[in-house]
């Protein structure tokens, strides 16, 4: 190994805070004039960051191995920084159970080298991942293993579920941006959008941390759903409990199962019980475009207020022209569908066209539970005239695009919470407008 360079050694002392004021002044002066000294300092800083990254990665894996195989590891071996082939060897050496050995070994062989920490276990719509020094991956599929990074749903229908090595799952819907890492402690940041999580018990002292622009959540093991935008975070806890800190003033509180909270600087910060579900609902489009998809149009002499369908391209490459309105909101009771429920939609088309109608639903934990739809032929829609259709819920089937995930999703939308009601035309703009949507309860016998 090279002999130490006195200048570099002095920089190490400087960073360690061990130089006198006069000596520190000399170092500062040398840094102004000496490009090599600055280069060494930058190198030291980068190496410090990368060494910590690698150690977090190693410890994260070690924690996972301990959870899978509680037998004590061979002392000393695991303390080494790993090379690509080593973790598999280490797992072989330490595990007591052949079954665990095989599963852990396969996991590392399949996912190692670049520190993959999560696997996509469900996916619909367009998403993309950015990480690994800026690499962008768009051709994500179920089974893709990912390093920590930023994953985005990039269309209104996007939905994906990530599963971490300990079985914790996080699902995101719609246009959302999630930063995630798991280097011994899961750390997530949701920039905007909707997420639900089923969090396995986390190691003591290392809760999963989920941060938004307005709140920070600490989770030890629970199920919850969260919705956030730039100014507010809405949290619903269905199992366990979540500690929430409101970032605007540092106030924090614990939210138990069956309760919810809104963290926003301009709103009362207190724990409220979940609202009892209802089975009837009517859209309020005349009031404005909040929680809608489409171009909102105010009422005028010729028509009601409504949403004009807007185009976007779905993952299979189809362009659809869609209008949608959110149904269950944080500050309103959840709207639940029954087998005898009906949907009523009023609107208009400028050109005759088949129209698809449907609902997006969530399960009791707030997790995405599918999109269910039906289609009505163009003969039912006269160009330039209003339509008014009532659809028995029994007519709605799982969106064929979701067929690959059919095993994970319910076959029918019954007894699920309505996230949104929507309609669209396929491939061509038909000037579809939506004036009103309703959820009608089963008829009273």
């Amino acid at each position: 190994m090279n002999p130490p360079d006195p200048k570099q050694e002095r920089l190490v002392r400087y960073v360690d805070g061990r130089l006198s004021e006069a000596e520190a002044g000399q170092v500062a002066a040398s840094l102004r004039d000496d490009a090599a000294a600055r280069r060494f300092l930058r190198e030291m800083a980068e190496q410090a960051v990368m060494i910590a990254d690698l150690e977090r990665e190693t410890r994260g894996r070690r924690a996972w191995i301990r959870e899978q195989a509680p037998t004590a590891p061979a002392k000393g071996r695991l303390a080494r920084f790993p090379i690509p082939s080593r973790p598999f060897t280490v797992v072989l050496a330490m595990a007591a159970s052949i079954a665990v050995l095989l599963s852990a070994g396969l996991l590392f062989r399949g996912s190692r080298h670049r520190g993959e920490i999560a696997t996509i276990t469900a996916l619909d719509g367009a998403i993309q991942w950015t990480g690994d020094g800026g690499r962008v991956v768009r051709d994500l599929t179920v089974g893709t293993k990912l390093q920590g990074g930023i994953i985005e749903g990039i269309e209104p229908l996007s939905w994906f579920e990530l599963q971490f090595a300990d079985g914790t799952t996080v699902a995101i819907t719609g246009n959302s941006t999630l930063t995630f890492s798991d280097l011994g402690q899961k750390r997530l940041r949701l920039k905007s959008g909707t997420a639900s999580a089923n969090v396995r018990p986390q190691p003591a002292g290392r809760p999963m941390v989920l941060q938004t622009t307005s709140a920070a959540l600490e989770v030890l093991g629970t199920q919850f759903a969260i919705e956030t935008d730039t100014s507010a975070t809405r949290l619903d806890v269905s199992q366990g409990k979540v500690r929430v800190k409101r970032l605007s003033d540092g106030a924090d509180l614990e939210v138990p199962a069956g309760h919810r909270v809104l963290a926003a600087a301009d709103h009362d910060f207190s724990v409220l019980p979940d609202l009892a579900p209802v089975d009837t609902w009517t859209s309020r489009l005349p009031l404005g475009p909040e929680r809608t998809l489409g171009r909102w149009m105010p009422p005028d002499a010729d028509r009601d207020a409504g949403l004009l369908a807007v185009p976007f391209t779905t993952r299979p490459g189809w362009t659809i022209f869609a209008a949608a309105t959110g149904v269950s909101a944080w500050d309103a009771p959840p709207v639940v569908l029954h087998a005898g429920s009906r949907l009523r939609l009023r609107g208009r088309v400028a050109m005759s066209s088949p129209v698809y109608f449907g609902v997006t639903v969530r399960d009791a934990n707030g997790a995405f539970a599918g999109r269910f739809q039906t289609v009505r032929g163009e003969g039912e829609f006269v160009a330039g005239e209003n339509f008014d259709v009532t659809l028995p819920l029994r007519d709605l089937v799982l969106d064929p695009v979701l067929k690959p995930m059919a095993k994970k999703l319910p076959a029918r939308p019954f007894e699920l919470t309505v996230e949104s009601v929507w309609c669209h035309t396929l491939h061509r703009p038909a000037g579809l407008e939506l004036f009103q949507a309703q959820v009608i309860p089963p008829a009273v016998p």
Partner: protein, 180 residues
């Protein structure tokens, strides 16, 4: 035309180690540096900011990381001798202007280089940069004199630099594996 959100994300991730490194020079704590980088990324995406080009973004990111670092020192009441703003700016400018290799490759190269140094040296680096001990605490923990620690740390950084460059250039040797 300003950078798209995607371009902002990509550029920040490409500069993660450099921005975190700049933060580390201020706070001297790798975990705090990581937090600072994440805050910088979050601000870039959630505040109503636009960046005309990558250079403007990185310039903002380094400045923001510096401010966050100074704020972190105040909040944690750490007694850290901070470099002059002038020197920090010089370092940040060099960080922004240098041609960089993909950081994923650098981390992989460092991983391999670390594997070829003795366990005692890895322990030293772990104690210093992951556990966050100062050199005196590391010396005590390892039963080695403080001056020897300084010598080892400086030699290790230089050797790792040469090793990483060698691996990325496909020309350099592994580190010598003799005792440090």
């Amino acid at each position: 035309m300003s950078l798209s959100e995607q371009a902002v994300l990509q550029a920040l991730m490409q500069a993660r180690v450099r921005v975190s490194g700049a933060a580390w020079l201020i706070v001297r704590d790798t975990h705090a540096a990581e937090d600072i980088f994440q805050n910088v990324a979050l601000k870039a995406l959630t505040r109503d900011l636009s960046f005309e080009n990558e250079s403007a973004l990185l310039s903002w990111a380094f400045i923001t990381a510096r401010r966050e670092g100074i704020d972190w020192i105040r909040r944690h009441r750490r007694e850290i001798t901070c470099l002059d703003t002038e020197i920090l700016e010089l370092l940040e400018h060099e960080w922004q202007s240098e041609a960089v290799r993909p950081e994923g490759l650098r981390v992989d190269a460092l991983r391999e280089c670390l594997d070829s140094v003795p366990e005692e040296s890895r322990r030293l680096l772990r104690l210093r940069y992951f556990e966050g001990h100062n050199c005196e605490e590391v010396a005590r923990s390892m039963g080695i004199g403080l001056n020897a620690i300084y010598k080892r740390v400086s030699r290790l950084h230089e050797s790792l630099r040469l090793c990483i460059e060698g691996k990325l250039g496909d020309a350099g040797p592994d580190l010598e594996t003799g005792a440090p």
